[in-house]
């Protein structure tokens, strides 16, 4: 027996089941006829992504089509998920460039540290999220795939307000 329970003596208007049901029905009917629906019809309509959205990576290139990456090794070092594979190379003039640059999008946690740490502004996260594939190995993006993507890149901060004020 629940004796120590606080006993509420509520007024009739609050405990009347019939009245509550009727007002509930009025509410649901109002929503039923309300033409404003909240669903976004996805493939046709899309959300505007925030400028700070962190999605699929892009490697930016110089005007002559080479990747901006100088294979300094900062991004694989800072990467908390350990998803960047970088093998550096050097050409005759002594310029370093990546022989292999691969990002495993499955391992990536999209923290954006690689973009933040990059001294050359080469690797970027993108404002893009539709990266479904038919096989698992397609999720390791190599240098060529990273460079040929064209979606807009993430702005880690608003250039007009760098301190986030």
């Amino acid at each position: 027996m629940t004796i120590g329970v606080k006993v509420m003596d509520r007024p009739v208007e609050e405990v009347s089941y019939v009245r509550a049901t009727l007002s509930g029905m009025a509410l649901t009917f109002k929503h039923l006829v309300d033409p404003h629906k909240v669903t976004v019809q996805y493939p046709e309509e899309k959300w505007d992504l925030s400028p700070r959205w962190r999605g699929t990576h892009r490697m930016l290139t110089t005007e002559d089509g080479k990747s901006k990456c100088v294979a300094c090794g900062l991004c694989p070092t800072v990467c908390p998920a350990n998803c960047i594979k970088l093998v550096p190379g050097e050409d005759e003039q002594g310029n370093r460039y990546p022989l292999v640059f691969e990002i495993d999008e499955f391992r990536c946690i999209f923290c954006g540290y690689c973009q933040e740490v990059c001294p050359e502004e080469a690797i970027h996260l993108g404002r893009h999220y539709e990266n479904a594939e038919y096989s698992r190995d397609r999720f390791v993006y190599d240098l060529e795939r990273l460079s040929t993507q064209t979606h807009p890149v993430c702005e880690m901060w608003d250039p007009a307000d760098p301190k986030g004020e």
């Binding site: 120590g4 009347s16 049901t21 649901t28 929503h31």
Partner: protein
Amino acid sequence: MTHLPLFALFQVADPQLPPTEGIFLIGTVVKMFIVFSVYMVGVAMLTLAERKISAWIQDRHGPNRVGYGWLQPAADGLKNIMKEETYPDSANLPLFILAPAISFIPAMITWAVIPFASPLPTPWGRIDMVVADLPVGFLFCLAISSLGVYGIVLAGWSSNNKYALLGGLRSSAQMISYEIAMGMSTVCVLLLSGNVSLSTIIQQQATMGWNVLLLSIAFFIFLVSSFAETNRLPFDLPEAESELVAGYHTEYSAMKFSFFFIAEYANMVTASALITSLFFGGWDIPFTQWDNLPPFTVLKTVLTLGVFLTKVLFFLFFFMWIRWTVPRFRYDQLMSLGWKVMLPLALAYITIIATVVLVLDRAGVARGPVYGAILFGMNVVLAVLLFVVLDRGRIVSPAYSRLDREEVARLRDMSVRNPALTEKKA
């Protein structure tokens, strides 16, 4: 048309008189096919309607991809047929396979006795727009609809799954409790019509006024009970997905699962048609006697069919509307509503109606509009009394009810005198 000689060849009987036996048989078979197909397509479209209405109520769009949503039932059906059927190892297979059919068939059979339009005159005689106008029509409905519970109980038992079994148990308790209130509420209808044939009940309402006005409280009881009978929210305890996974059909997959779904909607259609026939005048067009009186014409049949379908569709919408409004009852609330409110209410109402009918008949009031008006006036008073006096938080549950002040004082006193009752054990 009547002047074409060709037509005269087919003119073998008076369109206003019942046909010969051969024509009757052929007509019945044709009606069976038409009613069955319309019914099945209708039930399929109801699944779409339910999803659409639920979506709209929740500010969503609902299915709109397959043929702009219209082919969604076909896509669902195709998927369910192609899917793999799983059978639990420990299930009782014969019953496991039989149960979906048992739950589905009674809902369909009930439709045989429901008149859906005024009689259709044809060159071969007058065809009644009901598959089988049984003289015991209404009793047939009650008998068959109580069979539906077997499907659910057998499904729950034969799956050999604790959730399914609990769902089946709940369903049997729920359906049996509410069947009594349902049957009692319809006794009032029979008192007024003096006949159990559904056609007669509809004719009586056409002359006297719809039973929803004459027997409002019986209608209320019947409506609530039919929600319980069809296992729809707020009485969907046999399913209760938050407690019982999926209740009685937890172990079912593919088309067998789909059959329970179809059975639920078939039950809904049948319940709506019964509410329409018993309380909303069936195919009767309100405010006119034109549609009930011979000579019957094709126009009358089409119009009355339209009116009947409108009423049935309204109740189907009502079922869905309630489902997306009201949360599920707790089990004890369900039982206390059924046994402590609905049943006594129905019994008291029978007594009142029987007394009034007896008094009015003795006083020599003819069964017609005046008779109806007197009953209606009495019902307004009774409904006001019921909802004002009875709905003081006592209808559903003691947990929500207003406690008696003396009772509260007594309980508090008890807890003061005996601290062991309230204090926790160290």
